[in-house]
Amino acid sequence: MSALVPSDGAATLDGEAPATLEVSGVTVSVSGREVLRDVSFRLAPGQLTALIGSNGAGKTTLFRVILGLQAPTAGTILVDGHPRARRNPMIGYVPQRVFLDPDMPLRARDVVSLGLDGHRLGLGLRRHADQRRRVEEMLGAVDALRFADSRVGNLSGGEQQRVLIAHALVSRPRLLILDEPLANLDLRAEREVVDLLGRITRDQGISVLISAHDMNPLLPVMHRLVYLARGRAATGTVEEVVRPEVLSDLYGQHVDVLRVHDRILVVAGADERLPAGLRHAGSAAGAAPHTERWEP
């Protein structure tokens, strides 16, 4: 709880609307090791928040706690002002890795339908006309109508990601959580998904929480970010959080923030304690700032 690490107070949210998600003082230990310590932030409706952290920073763990798949050691989580229920129709979720086998007899359309009624018993042979319409509408919203009848396992990574986003959104959640939706996408697919997420946040007035190890692709659409390192979180706008003072404090070592052509690079500064070879690349696992990838 350093003064340098901004953390959302109630005052930072404008208006009366209750936070879609309120995470306060969440600490999580996995097999005896503390993965997250005292993480707090709030999400407002109509905002896209990025959860940034390197591999092993605890992004997926935080999501699992929010979704109720894992219990925190301490802290509380409120969804729309209420303690989170085990099954929460308010939250739509796209996991980090969904392996879709090309042999799976599931069309993109079927995957979206499962988002509507996949948790129900029975065959669901008689879908209401308005349910079918909702599925069509969602397929259209993610621009997936062209391949709605293709086997989902045969689609490209970007197309699959869009179908999974439609699956998560079709039940009209108030909060959409996406775990590394940009991993394994090429630049064009990445841009498509980012544009889509920006549009969804704007049009549907929901909160969107997206994890990523690189903040740059999300900069055009993100309103706020939660930066995770060494199990702790700094929260706020990019200007508030992505500053050398804040991030150095978070990482516990000197960190420089460079802005080059609209890109932000967070690099470990010269630290006499580190061997020379590790100074500029990520060092101590999970704790060090990541080097950004360069584009031509």
Partner: protein, 302 residues
């Protein structure tokens, strides 16, 4: 009429054991095909196979005790399914290891029991019956039990159909939606245990895999709709079981004359033939659709 009598040898429709074989084969194949679709979807063919093989332990024990092997298969299949679930958790590698361990131990015991069976005078044919089945020896008295078990298994499939699909898509996703993933797995494993027991009773413990995996693999090549895959797989199984039964009856007149070919072999041969045929269908369709493949049309969207 000429064609009919060419396919169905004299006496086929009057024979009591043929009736029993047709019914038993249909029930076993329908249930196994439907359940097997989820086995393939979950990528758990090995666990399904092991459940069938280890069920041989129960079958041979039941025969030693003078019981219908069906109940032995069922008892052991339920235990094996439970053990694999309890040992293997969700990780595929751990599951494979757990399955391998259970399979090894179970087959060891089955070996011992079959040895005792074959050396006992009243049960000397047990090894062949348990391992490779004897469709024409299925007794009328076993039929009501088989139909009832099949009904239970299909009811579980129908009841948990959407939950199974969502869980197969991603267990994490299902859990986040509040689906009790462990319970859904348990329902699947129970229906698997029943299916495999029925298959073992008809085509034998070793060949149960062929009914469990063959028809779904065929159906998955032919349709991209989940409901059609489950239904189609069941029907493909029934078609194979019936075709195998008819061929086995006819084979009395094939060389070596005067000795029928085992129905299990013929059923499995038909299953495999259908699978190969579906591959041909898939290739033909693929060629017809090739110009429309997603990779070929970016110009339209760019």
């Amino acid at each position: 009429m000429g064609a009919v009598s060419a396919i169905f040898a004299a006496g086929f429709f009057q024979n009591g054991s043929v009736h029993a074989a047709l019914l038993a084969g249909a029930v076993a194949a329908l249930v196994t095909g439907a359940v097997g679709t989820f086995t393939v979807l979950r990528g758990q063919s090995f666990a399904g196979h092991a459940t069938g093989e280890v069920a041989a332990t129960g079958g041979s024990a039941a025969m030693l005790g003078g019981l219908n092997p069906l109940w032995g298969y069922l008892g052991i299949a339920v235990i094996v399914a439970g053990a694999i679930e309890a040992l293997g958790v969700q990780r595929p590698r751990a599951r494979d290891l757990a399955t391998g361990l259970v399979l090894g131990a179970g087959l060891g015991i089955a070996g011992l029991l079959l040895y005792l069976d074959t050396t006992g005078t009243s049960t000397s044919g047990a090894a062949v019956t348990v391992l490779f089945g004897s469709l024409f020896a299925v007794t009328r008295s076993a039929l009501p039990g088989m139909v009832a078990l099949g009904g239970v298994s299909l009811a579980l499939v129908v009841l948990t159909y959407r939950l199974q699909l969502l869980t197969a898509l991603s267990p994490d996703l299902a859990a986040a939606r509040g689906v009790p993933v462990r319970l859904v797995s348990l329902a699947y494993l129970l229906s698997l245990a029943v299916a495999v027991s029925l298959a073992a009773e008809t085509v034998g413990a070793v060949l149960a895999t062929a009914l469990l995996i063959g028809p779904p693999a065929t159906a998955l090549r032919l349709t991209k709709r989940p409901g059609l895959a489950v239904l189609g797989s069941g029907l493909i199984g029934v078609a194979a079981a019936w075709a195998g039964t008819v061929l086995a009856y006819d084979s009395y007149y094939w060389p070596p004359a005067g000795r029928s070919w085992p129905p299990s072999f013929l059923i499995v041969a038909v299953v495999f033939g259908l699978y190969l045929g579906s591959g041909a269908v898939q290739r033909v369709r693929g060629r017809r659709r090739a110009p429309l493949a997603p990779g070929a049309v970016p110009a339209a969207t760019a």
